[in-house]
Amino acid sequence: MQTSASKRGGLPGFGLTMGYSVLYLSLVVLIPLSALLLNSTGLTWEKFWDVATDPRVLASYKVSFLTAAAAGLIDTVLGLLLAWVLVRYDFPGKGLFDAMIDLPFALPTAVAGVSLTAIYSQNGWIGSLFEPLGIRLAFSPIGITLALMFIGIPFVVRTVQPVLQDLDAEVEEAAATLGASRFRTFRKVVLPELLPPLLTGFALAFSRGIGEYGSVVFISGNMPMKTEIAPLLIMSKLEQFDYAGATAVALLLLLISFILMLLINSLQRRVRKTAR
């Protein structure tokens, strides 16, 4: 790895910083992760297949996927609205508004979990409004979706916001001058530009939603086959000392996360390119 400093632009410290980074990365991330991939629990193919096709496991994947996708979609629409208003308009309290968007990033997930459960349970502020209609919010897939919406919203806003800011106003003005209606301008000129960041924001929120644990366990009720999410299933298998089973569920989840990450990376590169 180490070559003469002159070859690398003359700055010192390449060997030291690179060596330290790779060592630390290996110790904290790569070696522990490889324990999962190298299958230290003696997990056989049959066992893996048994676990992966177990109805309860399949149901947990379904719950995780559908709720994360629903939350991601709703966040994409609401996030676009929030980003739009933040970039395009001035109004009193805008600074505070902008700062509050990041609350889900900064708030510990367990706090979000207990708070959202209090809001949406039968006698909570919002839950009690829906109870007479026979709709249960907490302890149902709706509750999980609501929790994941909270966790995911900043991802969409913070991905769309900078692109919207950089968007060339002249193009829009030209479209308006040529007689395009405001809605048509938005649909034909603005939306195509925003599609990559919206997709990235959705993918980030979705990816986070699939792995999310803390904010969901309180509100989901954790009923097997109904409101049990995949990360919780890993947890309960661990509590029963079923390490091979936990590894099997985790491997599948990890694979999905990796694919999503690569997708997000290529999307983000595209967004950055158009932004420049």
Partner: protein, 288 residues
Amino acid sequence: MAGSVPLASAKTPTARNRTTRSTGAAKWILIGAAVLVLTWLIVLPLAVVIIESLKKGLGVYVDAIRDPDAMSALKLTLLVAVVTVPLNTIFGVAAAWAITKFKFRGKQVLVTLIDLPFAVSPVIGGLIYVLVYGAHGWFGPWLQEHDLKVIFALPGIILATMFVTFPFVARELIPLMEDQGQQEEEAAVTLGARGFRIFWKVTLPNIKWGLLYGIILCNARAMGEFGAVSVVSGHIRGETNTLPLHVEILYNEYQFSASFAVASLLLLLALVTLLLKSWFTRKSQHHS
């Protein structure tokens, strides 16, 4: 993927021509809708924590926080952050230096690997340490022979927290230092400055606010991590219980007011983080 969006992207909006400015009505309808969404999604959960924590009066609130188990959870949480955040900060600075100041093969792969912990479910972040250091893990038998405990003890909690907060500082610094290039540092080399002095005198002043931003995000997550820590902690009250786990224990015991009282401490942490964040953002915009 969790919780970090580069500071560098923030810019002041450009002034707009009248033709693209929405008419009054549309503007206020959209602003109204956005405020409603924000209040529902974000302000309401915040308000509920405060209201629920004070529901049974200030006495219950104070008792819940002064409870010995809560105090030991607070101490553990602070201890974990004090160990984790500096380690990840040193890594972040070193990695950003190597990645942004030099050309080498496999750079993109390295950047992707640094991001890995954000893509992985926190529960998996805990599980992998159980597979390495747990009783049935790689080093389990050896650790047991030497009477060392990692899982269900402090080292495990620290390791799991290091994993989930691993990318924060590096991720903040890499785009920032990439934008700044290396001319200033090269000039310093020409003038005869060396090594650490260049970083301290030339690089650090330029990245100060971004670095601080990365550190506070890392800290917020380190103090608030739940899933990964939950796997490795063993939930021993007064010993391996962090504040977020204490919130859960009280909640599951139906001590809701006490649970929300402890949660309000973590909410305070989040609000301080947001306050510092917007301060750093303003400073960095002023700077550039």
